[in-house]
């Protein structure tokens, strides 16, 4: 199997605040891993550190055996990590097709896309996320769930080995959530390693076989969703002190 991502003693301080505190864990190739934690746990900061949007204060990140600590996001994307964002973003004035084409034009994406033609590759990605019939339209016409699918499509254009999904379910109706879940499962089946985080745990905890829990920047525990949800510290973090009776 092999380890695809290794995080060691990762720490990030913002002035007096330690957002991520000495966090270490591993992700195995082809895994489906979740990251949970209440507000302020450091989940998004952790993603930013892995993706290069923030530089760690100390610690290392290794991807596929290679030290990527402190690299810029576009370098990391071209090594094989892609991410989606909590707040949906899109290229507002480009068509859906062009939105995907941009990632197909990245150095890494181009290697694959050039064989079939950029537009054709972008088209097939749009089809994979179920948006191909709106290819020539701008993102503004899309409902929220489809915008999240578009984001995933954009990530796919760079041909990633590891996909970081930041809150893929927030703000979606239950049907929309199911649509995203199906898409994520298909991607995982195709061999993409998926690392996802979120506050909406209804879908997430029933989707991933393994979960890591964080609280106040620290790594708390990991295990199956059942194990983690019954962990005393995790319960207290989410529900308050003395919450065992609620378990």
């Amino acid at each position: 199997m092999g380890t695809i991502l290794e995080v060691k003693n990762l720490t990030k301080k913002f002035g007096g605040l330690t957002a991520v505190n000495d966090v270490s864990f591993e992700i195995h190739r082809g895994e489906f891993l979740g990251l949970i934690g209440p507000n302020g746990a450091g989940k998004t900061t952790l993603f930013n550190l892995i993706f290069g949007s923030e530089k760690p204060s100390s610690g290392t990140v290794r991807f596929d055996g290679r030290d990527i600590t402190g690299m810029k996001p576009y370098e990391i994307v071209n090594l094989g990590i892609a991410r989606t964002f909590q707040l949906v973003r899109s290229f507002r004035f480009l068509t859906l097709l062009d939105n995907i084409s941009v990632s197909c034009l990245s150095p890494r994406g181009k290697k694959v896309a050039k064989q079939y033609g950029i537009d054709e590759s972008a088209s097939s990605i749009l089809a994979a996320v179920g948006l191909v019939d709106k290819a020539s339209l701008p993102p503004v016409i899309l409902p929220h769930g489809d915008l999240r699918k578009l984001q995933i499509g954009k990530a796919l254009g760079t041909n990633p080995q590891l996909l970081l999904l930041d809150e893929p379910f927030s703000g979606l109706s239950h049907e929309e959530q199911e649509g995203i879940t199906d898409l994520i499962i298909r991607l995982h089946d195709d061999g993409v390693t998926v690392f996802m985080t979120g506050h909406v745990l209804r879908e997430l905890m029933n989707l991933v076989p393994r979960v890591i829990a964080m609280h106040q920047g620290k790594y708390i525990t990991e295990g199956s969703p059942q194990e983690v949800a019954n962990n005393k510290i995790v319960l207290e973090a989410y529900l308050g002190k003395g919450s065992e009776q609620l378990a």
Binding site: P73, Y74, F93, S103, L105, Q115, Y116
Partner: protein
């Protein structure tokens, strides 16, 4: 699966058909008509005042189009585009007057200098956004104006008198007209082509969402600088032509007013259209010419007209005008 050679052959063989369709298509037809119109204008009149107006408009349209590539397509709104005009203009003037270069080579080096300035400016403003970028570029422009006017630097930079008495490109205004026209056509073909290529899509992605573009694996630093260099090179072309047309240059070329000209003309015509810049430039030059005789009131009226246009045609004049003309075109072609 079609490979590269096959697709290239398809493109070449299909060109005549493509061209026919392009002309029948509204935009192509209009473009051909405009080019023919410009080409034949000197046949209508050889009055140097009117020719001069058109020459000025054509030079400005190159300038405005270069700005539109940077601002409309890459989202980098510069308030100091006159820097390119000036640097290129000074180099062109210097080489023409003091080193007896042929005008083409003088122009070439002026453009080369602009490319380098584009590189420098692009690098300096990498982290600046929005109002900070505008302010930064504005300030650099003003600094250039002051520096070039400095007395102690007179031996090199010619102080506030600048360089004058440049040899004319040609004794005939008509020749100058056609030279400028050719440069304008080349400029627009190149710039419009760029926006349609992959790199154009990348520029637009940077404009729409820099972080998203980075997350898509694009080296935004590289492309921002490239945009500055391309934009700068054409602005420099405008600067060199402007200097040769006026046969002189002074530090006043760096003043914010000229930078504003680029913005106004591009906005008038329509941002992110490239061709709109031509329309905006001609409109602007004509309006200024009409009002030049009417004393101070003219400035007021002129400004009001500008504000009305910009206010009510949020996308510039080009698109609404095109809509009207398109209907007319369809009628003419009997659709």
């Amino acid at each position: 699966m079609p490979n590269k050679t096959q697709r290239f052959r398809e493109k070449v063989l299909g060109f005549p058909n493509y061209f026919k369709h392009w002309i029948r298509d509204f935009k192509g037809g209009l473009t051909i008509l405009s080019i023919l119109g410009l080409l034949s204008f000197p046949l209508v009149t050889t009055n140097s005042y009117f020719l001069g107006l058109f020459i000025l408009a054509m030079i400005y349209s190159i300038f405005a189009a270069s700005w539109d590539l940077l601002a409309g397509f890459t989202g980098k709104v510069s308030f100091g585009h006159a820097i390119f005009l000036g640097i290129s203009g000074y180099i062109t003037a210097e080489l023409l007057k003091y080193y007896n270069f042929h005008w083409l080579s003088a122009l070439f080096f002026g453009v080369l200098a602009s490319v380098l300035i584009g590189l420098g400016l692009g690098y300096m403003t990498l982290r600046l956004k929005g109002p900070y970028l505008a302010l930064g570029t504005l300030v650099i422009g003003i600094i250039c104006q002051k520096v070039f006017a400095l007395n102690p630097l007179k031996p090199i930079l010619h102080g506030d008198e600048g360089i004058s008495g440049l040899p004319a490109l040609s004794s005939s205004t008509v020749v100058i007209y056609y030279v400028v026209l050719i440069f304008m056509i080349i400029t627009f073909i190149v710039l419009i082509r760029i926006t349609k290529l992959n790199i154009g899509t990348l520029f637009k992605s940077i404009r729409d969402d820099e972080i998203g573009s980075e997350a898509a694996g694009i080296n935004i630093t590289k492309y921002k600088i490239i945009a500055f260099m391309i934009s700068g090179s054409f602005a420099g072309l405008a600067g060199g032509l402007f200097t040769m047309f006026n046969r002189s240059i002074s530090p006043l070329i760096f003043q914010p007013l000229y930078s504003f000209y680029a913005i106004i003309m591009a906005a008038l015509g329509g941002l992110a259209t490239i061709s709109g810049s031509a329309l905006g430039a001609f409109l602007f030059v004509f309006l200024t010419a009409i009002f030049v005789d009417f004393a101070e009131i003219s400035l007021l009226i002129f400004s009001i007209i500008l504000i009305i246009i910009i206010r009510f045609t949020s996308g510039g004049v080009l698109k609404p005008a095109l809509e009207r003309l398109k209907d007319l075109w369809d009628i003419l072609l009997g659709r």
